[in-house]
Point group: C2
Chain length 338, copies 2
Amino acid sequence: MMTKRIGTQTIKFQSPPSIISRASIVGPKEGQGPLKDYFDEILTDDYVGEKSWELAESKIFEKAVDLALKKVNLKPSDINYLFGGDLLNQIISSSFAARSMQIPFFGLYGACSTMAEALSLAAMMIDGGFADYTIAATSSHFSSAERQFRYPLELGNQRTPTSQWTVTGAGATILSKYGNGPYITYVTTGKVVDLGIKDANNMGAAMAPAAADTIINHFRDTGFSPTDYDLVVTGDLGRVGSDLLYEILAREGFDIKDIHMDCGLEIFDESQDIQAGGSGCGCSAVVLNGYLLSEMSKGLFNRIFFMATGALLSTTSTQQGESIPCIAHGVVIERFLN
Amino acid sequence: MMTKRIGTQTIKFQSPPSIISRASIVGPKEGQGPLKDYFDEILTDDYVGEKSWELAESKIFEKAVDLALKKVNLKPSDINYLFGGDLLNQIISSSFAARSMQIPFFGLYGACSTMAEALSLAAMMIDGGFADYTIAATSSHFSSAERQFRYPLELGNQRTPTSQWTVTGAGATILSKYGNGPYITYVTTGKVVDLGIKDANNMGAAMAPAAADTIINHFRDTGFSPTDYDLVVTGDLGRVGSDLLYEILAREGFDIKDIHMDCGLEIFDESQDIQAGGSGCGCSAVVLNGYLLSEMSKGLFNRIFFMATGALLSTTSTQQGESIPCIAHGVVIERFLN
């Protein structure tokens, strides 16, 4: 078999899988943001009738997968693999959701990079001949994340200007070897990058170097440049991280400013008091499955590089004074095949 | 391309990847157990010179990967993907280790099933044409796991008879498209199974149904039976879980008792006061990379089904009264290709 590898971190698919269905569910606050018309469902209650935020998060993960399946009349048993993950310790949102679906399950942890990690592997399974249908799905929940990573909500802590707001939401994407696009055509897999940022309230700064590393390697591996894309999407660098990303890329001779979109900066507007932007696995997942793929189907974008970045810290590592290792994974999504 | 799928949960490789290198590092207690002569390194200090058990665990993950690379004169830059995970929140052992290696990294969470999950994906990357060399690696550490999942060690809590002892250890396996075996020939991917066990000190009982589900589906998918294997290996069901596994399989007409080996039951002996057996991601990883592959190279086994089971709970889910979702992934390892 011919290798599909190009360069050091990138794969070019021989039989690019199609995105045949997608679903996005968001919380009440996200449902008041600028992208509200793009989401399949806006929750009115962020407990979704469950008795804890963790169970609520698992519920919306499950609902997003269910909805994506229903849209194309597929059953869980039609799906060969589910790739999923979330921010909670031991990814309980995903595992508990997978329990009710009975789809062979690969649990992932990539923090906020998980949607891109899941899409990468779900697409590779199809091009590799291992699957006809796969699902990539992730979730996050403001309240379950906040109390796990930061403070009890009841404490009413002030938030720093660099902090980001974890999105309550879940997104699911179904890939298939059959279909007419949009297609996943390339995968660039990230390395762990850590330039020594230790402030867990400044994830954007910690993640920007990882994002830059993956973008630069993507361009080097493929020979593409920013002008080959309608959009370079990052997951949740926020305001601080996006500015740093431009700075690092400029030093390497790349300018993506005009075609860059950060999901964390689009999902809320400034009046919503979210400091440096949205974040969480669910952020890029709902913006991809809500806004981006919807506008791509209408022709606003034909070719995007969708990348999500993750800050791979834990409360233990932070308490031990460690810096924050980060990673960014990216996939190219194209409306048409050349 | 012809599909490689057989049945509902199993893949048969067209170009089975070879295991070309392996390494295992264990803690002092594991180094006094019956398998002590099979491990590459036995730590004399379970801090490995680090200032916390979490950093120590990350260190042995890194050392295991390094050692596996050195044995075959490969550099990190020769490796296309590292698949790794561990038990700690946000898999910090793996992520912090991956930081120093600069290999494109897919972070996984499958609890104690992680070694089999990582081997599955690492093998699929090669057969799928995405990689020439991949590494699967996992770790666990008694002291980091105990204080995260149970009680501060300083408390000196009594352990229940059904509880298991988390192995301090790390294992790494290098797979390649080049090589002369042993080969990974089949992958059977698990579904999440939960029969309602809520006792976090009885993981064996919780995991047995998931193990049974994957074994039964493996036999159904492939048409193989226990007599086709020299060994059916489970990760860490321990005494309680192994007996339950036999019981469930007997109901379905399968008897694996004579060819079953549980890594958790082999790594310690009863005099070591480990209650129902060893456990942790590192348990199956070091028994595979220490004992099993070593004896396979000498001809004691020619064909094994290596399966690892994971209990996908968190302390939060347990405190909320939830039962324990479990999963089991399996790969077939063969000394020769037919």
